[in-house]
């Protein structure tokens, strides 16, 4: 089990990086969707 910790750390890091990116995109999207809904309703 040589270097197991490092392997685990590396795989966690990969997942973390992509999750952080995905979450940041999802949050921006949700906020934009709110804006779109607000602006469309405001127009009516």
């Amino acid at each position: 089990m040589k270097n197991m910790n490092y392997l685990v750390a590396a795989y966690i890091a990969i997942w973390a990086i992509f999750c952080v990116y995905l979450i940041s995109v999802a949050r921006r999207m949700a906020s934009l969707q709110d804006d779109i809904r607000r602006l469309k309703e405001g127009g009516k």
């Binding site: 270097n3 490092y6 999207m29 779109i36 602006l39």
Partner: protein
Amino acid sequence: MAGESESRIPTGPAISWPSVLVVFLLLAAASYGALIKAPEEATMGLIQRIFYFHVSSAWSGFISFILVFIGSIAYLRTRDLKWDWLSVAAAEVGVAFFTVVLVTGPIWAKPVWGIWWTWDARLTSSFLLWVLFVSYLILRTLVDEPERRAMVSAVFGIFAALDIPLVYFSIWWFRTQHPQPVIGNGGSLDGRMWRVLLLCWAATLGVMALLIRIRYRLEAMRMEVDALRLEASRSSR
């Protein structure tokens, strides 16, 4: 006016469930391959298994930056903003992939070489590429007007992409003249390792495609919001 902008902005979900499923399965298979099926490397032990995703991420990040190049040229030729959306999406995803490369590289080096960083050719080139496209992204935040932003980003994107082979060659030749420990598999790969590597690459390409599509949609939505705000301010007069 409203009809025009609506027809250009895509509607519906950004990514389909089948495509997510396919990528998920690829990832599962690739992880199984990397962590279990692949033969254990003699000298480095378990940590060598990071090699498959480390290299795949670099290759996929590289493809992302080529997409920035293509998108940038296409924007300058056609002035269709959707090419700009592709460029920024590809740039961000590329930076994410190279972040993975830059984080997994040292994690690999430390147990094998005892030090986190050896300025080896590939990792140093990755670092420079990362910095280059982070600069691209910073440039974009500093220009507010969409068409102008698209245009200047496209020019810089082209230059940055053209720089990629020059960066790799200069750092590689420099390292050939001044050798240092190499973070990598060193010798050649056996057949099974190649198969796992290619599978991992397919998986990361799938992730790349999904992330770019999502980010592309985000950019399209930004434009929709801008257009709606413009309309709202016009009609309120």
